[in-house]
């Protein structure tokens, strides 16, 4: 178990390093191959009004004239140990993890990301609670009443949920519930949980439901398929033969058996979401990681983009590890070696 975790952690570091190399390569190697000079890259850092002399100086200071490997080393060291930026008169220290400074705001990227993270986490957790409960419950009932009206209706709605994009369902529900009926928040607002939990929930309710709808649909279908399979297992027959009430048979024996694949998908979905619910956040103008990413890409703000990519990759890799560990908890037959 311990060796397993250590091995997986080593792998996680390797994975993240690879991701960082690839991102770094995309932003610094590819432009070079396309013919960009160090000065072209530095021009983005110093702004349009800079003179040729200033650009040259910046390129030198930012180390764009060094070999790429040295540049990557500096970049990686910044993330791990922090970095010092020489601004000429003063030296500015950027503590670890340092993704550098935004082109636009001149602020370090990491604190910005930290500011945005609670929004995305709030959005992801709330939506996850809703979609897991709604999706699994719908799936169980559908499986038990296969072919019934409920089953057909639920699977129809689920199909819609899977196929309709967030910006569509999000817009429609905004128009309907916020602007029309005024039951939910109009978007563009976020209250931290610690400030006021009620407002926090009120502000996020619509994004939660919109996001959950997309996922719940998928989970309902998965749960239904899993339940149909497990309810035919021999151990379900044994549970009934013991004289267990049908509810216990379904929930304790059937659902427990069907949950494993759902857990896997959930880990990946949740990890991805933590890296930014891009569509939801932009639809509702929520200041989360996803919105941050969209803006960063829009302004071609390299340090910001790299920061978001690495944070998102971290969550996915981490979620994967957690899922694999949970697997062993849920299914005792799984041995982590």
């Amino acid at each position: 178990m311990v060796t397993y975790i250590i091995r997986r952690l080593i792998w996680a570091v390797v994975m993240l390093s690879i991701v960082s190399i690839i991102t770094f390569g995309i932003f610094f190697l590819v432009p070079r191959l396309a013919g960009a000079t160090p000065e072209d890259l530095a021009a983005r850092y110093v702004g349009r009004t800079a003179t040729e002399q200033q650009v040259k100086l910046a390129a030198e200071q930012l180390g764009f004239n060094d070999p790429l490997i040295v540049q990557y080393g500096r970049f990686a060291k910044g993330i791990v140990a922090g970095a010092d930026y020489n601004n000429g008169p003063s030296v500015e220290h950027c503590p670890a993890p340092c993704f550098g400074y935004s082109f636009r705001t001149r602020l370090p990227v990491w604190p910005d990301l930290l500011d945005r993270l609670p929004v995305t986490i709030s959005l992801a957790i709330g939506a996850a609670v809703i979609w897991v409960i709604a999706g699994v419950a719908t799936g169980v009932v559908s499986a038990l009443r296969r072919g019934s009206f409920f089953d057909r209706a639920a699977m129809g709605v689920a199909l819609a949920g899977v196929s309709l994009p967030i910006f569509f369902t999000g817009m429609v529900s905004l128009v309907l519930f916020s602007y029309g009926l005024h039951i939910t928040a109009p978007g563009n607002v976020y209250t931290p949980f610690l400030t006021n939990p009620l407002t926090w929930a009120y502000d996020l309710l619509l994004p939660w439901i919109t996001l959950a709808f997309l996922y719940a649909a998928n989970y309902a279908r998965l749960t239904r398929a899993g339940m149909l399979e497990t309810m035919n297992e021999d151990y379900i027959r044994t549970a009934r033969a013991k004289g267990l009430a049908e509810r216990t048979v379904v929930l304790k024996h059937g659902l427990r058996g069907a949950l494993t694949p759902i857990l896997t998908i959930f880990g990946l979905d949740f990890g991805l979401l933590l890296g930014g619910a891009v569509l939801t956040e932009s639809t509702y103008s929520l200041p989360g990681i996803g919105k941050y990413a969209i803006d960063a890409i829009g302004y071609q703000d390299l340090p910001q983009v790299m920061g978001v990519v690495l944070v998102a990759a971290f969550f996915v890799v981490f979620a994967n590890l957690v899922v694999d560990l949970l697997y062993a908890v849920v299914d005792p037959r799984v041995r982590l070696v």
Partner: protein
Amino acid sequence: MSEPLLSVQGLEKHFPVTKGLLQRQVAAVKAVDGVSFEVRKGETLGLVGESGCGKTTTGRLITRLIEPTGGKIVFEGNDITHMSQGKMRPLRRDVQMIFQDPYSSLNPRHTVGAIVGAPFRIQGIKTEQGVKKAVQDILELVGLNPEHYNRYPHEFSGGQRQRIGIARTLALKPKLIIADEPVSALDVSIQAQVVNLLEDLQNELDLTYVVIAHDLSVVRHISDRVAVMYLGKLVELADRKSLYESPMHPYTNALLSAVPIPDPKRRVERERIRLQGDVPSPLNPPPACRFHTRCWKAQEICKTVEPPLQKLAPGHEVACHFPENAPAAAAEAAPAAV
């Protein structure tokens, strides 16, 4: 005695077990651990044993479905132990396999004609009157209606499917057929049909069989010689009559004694040998004689010295320090010989 068609010497298959950060190999499951026997032309060799004894692995090694980790397989005088796939190709015609489950071993999307005819196409064999005629002849041979050519496997019962499986192996006129539990998935009344069919085909086509099975009654019925395996080792090898009438290895005795007898009058008077516990894990088999943990005759020597497979009577080999039913001289010689 005719020449051996197949000869297996010290055959080994160890599956590695890895552990730790670097996934080093820490142990091996010795599924087959030094098995030697010969199969003579035209005979049926039965391979019996309980789960985990390595009988199925042995069958797969012989057909080269898996690669042996040690030992030698000689077929018709050619060493085929590590022969490449390309060189094996002509040999694949000569050695065919019948599988246990007639449901999962037939592709449900192919017609009977396609399944049975596939070997012709794969091996690129020209037939005089076309593949279809050849396939229909084989279908008739195994007791199926030649008009079933265009039907699909799901339209057949378990027994008929097993016939289709047999027909497929016969397509290329093999010399040796490895049958792995050919009847155990079938209903009782169907088992007998398939057993009889296998015997008829053997007589008609001069086939040689290795039949792998756990059912000792079926093995006695079908085999000329029988090999008993326990935890990857051959413990006894004898012709049918001596093995069933005067088994020497205690394990063989226990196996025979455990078979339920369909005779309600005999259930009281029967003397039984009851083994304790289950077969130990092949991952960590007992040292020396692997049967000593369950053997009622085991002594100190059984825990320290592995008994070799010795010929104690004509055509009767056994690996035991204290064999039963052995000729007096041999019995005394056996423990001393080590």
